[in-house]
């Protein structure tokens, strides 16, 4: 057991590190507090792509490096270490691109993949709908075939990250309401600038707008933009979701604030408190700090699997469950020690980071799978506990709509 790189990993890390040092000034900074510039972000990603640091695990004929998940994890670590801003096309790389690789035509692959990796096109993923969150297959966005063989699409998607900047999206639609709900779905690539596509930012409780609603109003999509067979959309979507999990990569990274930064913050406020209160603060810090340590080393176990070429299974969901809980405990403590400032949106000296964090975290326990759904996944696929009986089994989508209205 050791925490060191293998010789191969060390060589790769050193290559990555020197590239980042050399090109530091051409890349954005994570810690940069100025407003987001998407054109700059596209340029930064292109620089990284040209250095071989984007699409590390993608096959070479898709424009990638044919590398290992561990190499990707090392890139992630080094990007974080060098304070390089996150890639603008993360969703494209992690979810949309792999879906095109598995299910796209040769024509689609050649048109889209390399441009995606260089962020010449930015992509988004259009799955969730207002009436289908955890139950994705209940979606209603309708695609109807027209006489010329193209598709006419109407409906509404929601929780779409980057839709306002995206050039393309992968779009899951219902093409047949008269079969069971998982069977009537079809996936498309959609041009986000096409007539009939409207994007509206969706503001969150924290005040930020990291998501969008997207409305499709008789949007025409040629049949050549279909991904996979008609009616096979659910299987295609599973590829997307599986890729999402694999793209997580960086084990041991912290959700929300780092435990160390909270410890620093607490340390700065501890002296002013009476000993009794200090003991209570320490108890809360100790509990969440142990949680943060446990998450870090559980992440290292995941990385070790990657390092051996194994892929993470559903047990990786445990990291999100534990991570969001630790993040909430830490944020709560960080706000509490602000004392008289804790009820305000910003401290007297204008810092609002802890209060903002507090308002972002409830959403993180929901986005990317609610805690309830993650617990079901672990319970059923890791512990082998039986699934619940399904109320929507053996009926068509149309019937399920009718019974819902009843």
């Amino acid at each position: 057991m050791d925490f060191d790189d293998t010789p191969d990993e060390a060589a790769w890390r050193s290559r990555v590190r020197s590239f980042l040092e050399e090109h530091r000034d051409e890349l954005g900074r994570r810690s940069d507090q100025r407003g987001f510039d998407d054109q700059a972000a596209r340029r930064h990603q292109a620089v990284l792509y040209d250095g071989g640091l984007v699409g590390v695990t993608w096959p070479t004929d898709a424009g990638g490096q044919g590398g290992t998940p561990m190499q990707q994890a090392i890139v992630d670590q080094e990007l974080a270490r060098a304070d390089v801003a996150g890639l603008i096309n993360l969703i494209g790389i992690g979810m949309c691109g792999p879906t095109v690789i598995y299910h796209g035509s040769e024509d689609q692959k050649s048109r889209y993949l390399r441009r995606l990796l260089r962020a010449e096109d930015v992509w988004c993923q259009l799955f969730s709908e207002p009436a289908s969150g955890s139950d994705l297959a209940a979606l209603r966005t309708k695609a109807v075939r027209t006489e010329d063989g193209s598709w006419r699409i109407s409906g509404q998607k929601v929780w779409t990250t980057l839709a306002h900047l995206a050039d393309y999206g992968i779009l899951l639609t219902r093409t047949d309401p008269d079969v069971a709900k998982h069977r009537g779905l079809t996936m498309f690539v959609v041009d986000m600038k096409a007539p009939g596509v409207t994007v509206r930012p969706l503001r969150q409780m924290s005040g930020g707008a990291d998501f969008n609603e997207v409305f499709f109003d008789d949007v025409v999509v040629p049949d050549s933009e279909r991904l996979g067979e008609v009616g096979d959309g659910w299987r295609v979507a599973l590829t997307t979701l599986m890729s999402e999990r694999l793209s997580l990569g960086g084990g041991g990274t912290e959700i929300g604030a780092s435990a160390t930064s909270v410890a620093e913050h607490v340390a700065a406020h501890l002296d002013g408190l009476p000993e009794g209160r200090r003991a209570l603060v320490r108890q809360q810090l100790g509990r969440s700090y142990v949680g943060a340590l446990a998450n870090r080393y559980t992440g290292y176990r995941l990385l070790s699997k990657l390092s051996k070429g194994e892929l993470p299974g559903p047990e990786a969901s445990a990291g999100k469950l534990a991570g969001t809980q630790v993040a909430r405990d830490l944020a709560d403590l960080a706000v509490r020690v602000l004392g008289d400032d804790a009820a305000y949106a910003a401290t007297a000296d204008g810092s609002r980071s802890w209060q903002d964090l507090q308002a972002v975290l409830p959403g993180m326990a929901i986005a990317g799978g609610t805690n309830e759904v993650l617990r079901n996944i672990i319970g059923e696929r890791v512990l082998g506990l039986p699934a619940e009986p399904r109320a929507d089994k053996g009926i068509t989508f149309k019937e399920s709509l009718a019974s819902a209205r009843a």
Binding site: G133, M205, R277, Q358, A359, I366, E372, R390, S403
Partner: protein, 328 residues
């Protein structure tokens, strides 16, 4: 044994609910966040309604009611996240007791007051131009300047206050006990507002869980959702019992008030926080959008827990009182 509201109090609750659901709503809280719109119903409407000054004697133009009466109203105010807080009026009515003129000014709205504690945010600093404060053992009414600051919950009118000492008049000398009593009454009323907010948050969560479908059935049929809501229900009913007891103690059993006020302050903070977190969680994605009301209850919870002493200190006080009681 008759530990229940009477018919008169039920009528009062219904009347307060009618007025308050007309005069305020969580949407007003959102508007205050969006563009600094004034909180609703606002001081004037609250005073004119008579609900704010229920505990002011009739002779001074108030309602001549009990703290329990005010708590019944405060629960309704909490349901719609109304502002300013009835806490401010409740404390002022105690602090000005016997001072006919100033009580009358409180009741007719000409005295626009906030209560300033040792440190920390002043509730309803917004708009106030006179401030009640403890100086030594005297209760003092002073002018001053309130600086309202962006709060996590805008409806509390929180701000910092700089007192203008030149202007200060002693309202009651050697009155530390009265000050403490007023603070305890304030905690009871704060908890009653918390009860209202928590029980409304529960209602909204239950309605959504009855209607929203996932995998072919209402999400409220899933134990994860159902049991989370039940745990909130149990806490809300426990809190209701404590609010009634504490309000009754404020009126009838001053010996029990210190323990009851600390207990109800703590329970209210814990319950409202759990109710609001559950409300967000049960709603899934929609629950953390700006346009949904869930975060407005959540904001109230995140702020109220720190007002009139925080929950941690209140639990500590309960324990100290409990230990003192058995050691006596």
């Amino acid at each position: 044994m008759n530990f229940d509201l009477d018919d008169e109090q039920r009528d009062l609750a219904a009347a307060a609910r009618d007025f308050l659901t007309d005069a305020a709503s969580p949407a007003d809280s959102r508007a205050a966040l969006d563009d600094g719109a004034p909180v609703r119903p606002g001081r004037t409407a609250l005073v004119e309604s008579g609900f704010a000054t229920i505990t002011v004697p009739e002779a001074a133009g108030g309602g001549g009611g009990s703290v329990l009466d005010l708590a019944v109203v405060a629960e309704q105010a909490g349901r719609v996240l109304a502002g300013p807080s009835l806490v401010t009026f409740a404390r002022a009515a105690v602090l000005l007791a016997g001072d006919h003129e100033r009580l009358a000014a409180l009741a007719d709205g000409s005295l626009v007051v906030a209560v300033v504690d040792g440190s920390g945010p002043v509730i309803d600093a917004a708009g106030a131009d006179r401030f009640l404060v403890l100086r030594g053992d005297d209760i003092v009414l002073a002018g001053g300047r309130a600086t309202v600051r962006d709060a996590i919950d805008p409806t509390r009118g929180l701000g910092d206050v700089t007192l203008a000492d030149a202007d200060a008049e002693v309202v009651a000398a050697d009155a530390r006990l009265r000050w403490e009593h007023a603070e305890r009454v304030g905690r009871v009323v704060l908890a009653a507002e918390g009860l209202g907010a928590a029980s409304r948050a529960l209602e909204i969560g239950v309605e959504y869980a009855q209607q929203r479908l996932a995998f072919g059935r209402a999400i409220g049929s899933y134990q994860a959702v159902k049991h989370a809501l039940v745990d909130v229900y149990v806490q809300v009913e426990q809190l209701r019992s404590l609010v009634w007891w504490a309000a009754w103690a404020a009126d009838q059993a001053p010996d029990e008030l210190p323990l009851a006020a600390a207990a109800v302050k703590a329970a209210s903070a814990t319950t409202l926080e759990q109710a609001a977190e559950t409300l967000v969680q049960v709603h899934g994605g929609i629950g953390f959008t700006w346009e949904h009301d869930a975060h407005l209850f959540w904001r109230r919870a995140k702020v109220d827990r720190f007002l009139l002493g925080d929950d941690v200190d209140a639990y500590d006080e309960v324990a100290r009182l409990a230990v003192a009681q058995v050691s006596a």
